[in-house]
């Protein structure tokens, strides 16, 4: 469950209130923020709305959301340069390739732009961006797996469906799931990961169908850390009418629907809206020279939430609360402002 995160977040929130007043952005009109995901994906859709809202709330020079990177690091680098050429001077980026993105961040910083790594942090233990606001993909995968295992009653056979096998993020998701399974010390058996099934919905559907046809009886839980397999798994399990607990990540309408109708057990919702909204705000503070990071490259958890049938309608308010707390935390601990 998500209790720990919150209980962690709440006291800090309390403390900020006393420590220092909330930070107000004085002059945002010269700051143009570009929010650049790795490519088109349901996960990032809330960024659009957040972009509009932050532009309005903080009177920024402009906030643009551009998803034309098409999951190609080279394309994303070019896109960032183009945006810079168009006058954008603060960047919130989901790096296509976690192992390369630090290089990109470095280049952007060296050109004097404020940079935030949103929704995922660079691989390795350094972060060239000003800060990283995310729930790390590995952690999210870990939580999803745990949720599935709990639902399975702590034992049984678990399967992990995921995307492009040679992608670094996929490797981290696999690690996350493996970790959760290891913690059961053998009570839960993990079938070999089914990767490369996110290419298109049918590949995913086929993979799920074949899986259920071959192993359906023994499988107790499916955790999908990619979008299409999640949709396919929910539908597949429902069709096969097997008592398999499907846990997804992210909260695309399609997945929430599956949870409501019970074909999926749960999902690990993250906080893309908060990432974009708070991220833009912090970027504006940095780029307008009003503040600096106390500890450049710091990593902040943007929160993650277990969504089941029970809280499927309520979890979003909880999530907005968290976003607010993150903002306060920035003000209190992370930024030092003039």
């Amino acid at each position: 469950s998500t209790r720990p995160t919150e209980s962690a977040a709440v006291p800090t929130a309390a403390s900020t209130a006393t420590a220092s007043g909330p930070v107000e952005l004085r002059e945002g009109s010269k700051v143009k923020v570009a929010l650049v995901p790795g490519g088109a994906h349901p996960y990032f859709q809330p960024w659009k709305e957040a972009a509009r809202q932050s532009a309005a709330d903080f009177h920024l020079g402009g906030v643009v959301f551009n998803e034309t990177a098409e999951w190609d690091q080279a394309k994303q680098n070019n896109l960032l340069d183009s945006l810079a050429a168009q006058g954008y001077n603060a960047f919130g980026v989901f790096g296509v390739s976690p192992t390369d993105i630090n290089t990109t961040f470095g280049d952007l910083k060296s050109k004097g732009f404020a940079v935030a790594s949103l929704a995922s942090c660079p691989a390795g233990d350094t972060n060239e961006a000003d800060f990283c606001l995310s729930t790390d993909v590995e952690v999210a995968a870990y939580k999803a797996a745990k949720a599935a295992i709990d639902a399975m009653g702590g034992k049984g056979v678990l399967v992990h469906l995921t995307g492009n096998n040679v992608d670094a993020n996929t490797q981290r998701r696999i690690k996350g799931v493996d970790k959760a399974v290891e913690e059961t010390s053998g009570a839960v058996k993990l079938l070999p990961v089914v990767a490369d099934v996110d290419k298109d919905l049918q590949t995913a559907q086929k993979a799920v169908a074949d899986l259920l046809a071959a192993r359906g009886k023994e499988i107790g839980g499916i955790v999908s850390t990619a979008y299409n397999p999640a949709v396919a798994a929910a539908a597949g399990v429902k069709k096969a009418g097997l008592p398999i607990k499907v846990v997804a990540i992210d909260d695309d309408p399609e997945i929430l629907r599956a949870i409501r109708e019970g074909s999926a057990y749960a999902t690990i919702a993250q906080n893309p809206r908060g990432q974009a909204y708070v991220g833009s705000w912090a970027l504006a503070l940095l780029q307008s020279q009003q503040c600096t990071m106390r500890q450049p490259g710091v990593v902040i958890d943007s929160g993650s939430f277990l969504v089941t049938k029970e809280n499927v309608d309520g979890y979003d308010t909880e999530r907005r609360k968290t976003s607010e707390q993150i903002k306060q935390r920035f003000a209190a601990e992370l930024l030092s402002c003039r």
Partner: protein, 340 residues
């Protein structure tokens, strides 16, 4: 093999390479985009990265061109790049070799895998399409195994000395006395120019090059004219692997790490660049400059649209439409030219 060749022989137009047309198109587009958004001429933020891309994808196109020249295809062009980049990463990460030593090792690996592919094709006489497709799958399986075994995130992140410089430096940084090159032209461009010159010479000036073309033009007649067609098949695929490797290196340097996903985006651009440039899929006709221009055309269009601020909703639509319009216009003018 007959059909396309007859078609070509039948009318001179289709065989003449549309180089000037392409050049014209590129100029026109640059002017248009430049006026729509003056930022287009920003040396540091636009021209430099654009030219760096052109350099990389020109090499990719050449890697496809050399096999097209014998009427074959290489569907594994991207995976061969990844394969050879893997060896480069290994030699930096494990052997701590300097940048160019690692490059050489990687290129050797690329050449080897290419030659092996060519050898299978020559031996079995099976369609290159199928063999390279199979090779692609095989490598697709092999590469992740190695990376997951040896690295944390499916990538070698060590940065040998000179890598950063190679990525960032332009001709502006090479000066004779106090005259310096243009800061808009990345030094990496040299890595593309070198193979362009080499291939240009190979095809126009040397025996093996011409023998490649004739093998593509009519394998049976080539065999009967004393050309070692099988050896040429191997040669072509070897070169393809080598160039793919070079492209992989350039991409890795440009983005930052030697990773398993290198080259995933290479396949279609490799054909597009070469064929736009006037290289015939049926073999026997190549154009090195054309490959460069064809690659430039597509990248200029994309970059221009980006700068004008086209979102994903329209980007691809415009990309395709502009490409079609531009080429149709070009063809139309060409035919007018021939008539008069």
């Amino acid at each position: 093999m007959g059909p396309r060749r007859h078609r070509q022989a039948a009318d001179g137009v289709s065989t003449r390479k549309p180089l000037f047309g392409l050049l014209g198109l590129i100029v026109v587009l640059v002017v248009v985009f430049g006026t729509l958004s003056p930022a287009f001429f920003d040396e540091r933020l636009v021209l430099f990265p654009l030219l760096r891309d052109i350099a990389i994808y020109t090499v990719v196109g050449l890697a496809q061109m050399v096999v097209l020249s014998i009427g074959h295809m290489n569907l594994a062009v991207g995976r061969m790049a990844a394969f050879s980049a893997m060896f480069m990463g290994l030699s930096y990460d494990r052997l701590h070799l300097p940048l160019y030593a690692g490059l050489c090792i990687g290129l050797l690996a690329g050449a080897a895998i290419g030659a092996f592919t060519g050898w299978i094709i020559a031996r079995t006489g099976v369609n290159s399409f199928v063999v390279t497709l199979a090779m692609d799958f095989a490598l697709l399986g092999l590469i992740p195994v190695v990376y997951t075994a040896l690295t944390a995130n499916a990538a070698f992140t060590v940065k040998p000395d000179g890598m950063r410089e190679l990525r960032q430096y332009s001709l502006g940084d090479v000066c004779l006395g106090n005259v310096c090159g243009s800061p808009a032209v990345p030094q990496m461009m040299l890595l593309a120019v070198a193979p362009m010159l080499a291939l240009g010479y190979l095809y126009h000036g040397t025996r093996p090059g011409r023998e490649l073309l004739l093998t593509g033009s009519n394998p049976l007649a080539a065999e009967l004219s004393g050309i070692p067609t099988r050896r040429r098949v191997v040669t072509a695929h070897l070169l393809s692997g080598l160039l793919a490797g070079l492209a992989g290196f350039m991409l890795a340097v440009a983005t930052g790490s030697f990773r398993a996903t290198i080259g995933e985006e290479f396949l279609l651009p490799s054909f597009l660049g070469a064929i736009l440039g006037g290289t015939a899929m049926a073999g026997g006709v190549v154009s090195v400059i054309g490959t460069f221009l064809g690659t430039s055309l597509t990248l200029v269009i994309r970059r221009g649209l980006e700068l004008v601020g086209i979102g994903l909703e329209y980007l691809n639509v415009y990309l395709g439409v502009i490409l079609l319009l531009a080429l149709s216009a070009d063809r139309f003018l060409q035919r007018r030219g021939v008539k008069s």
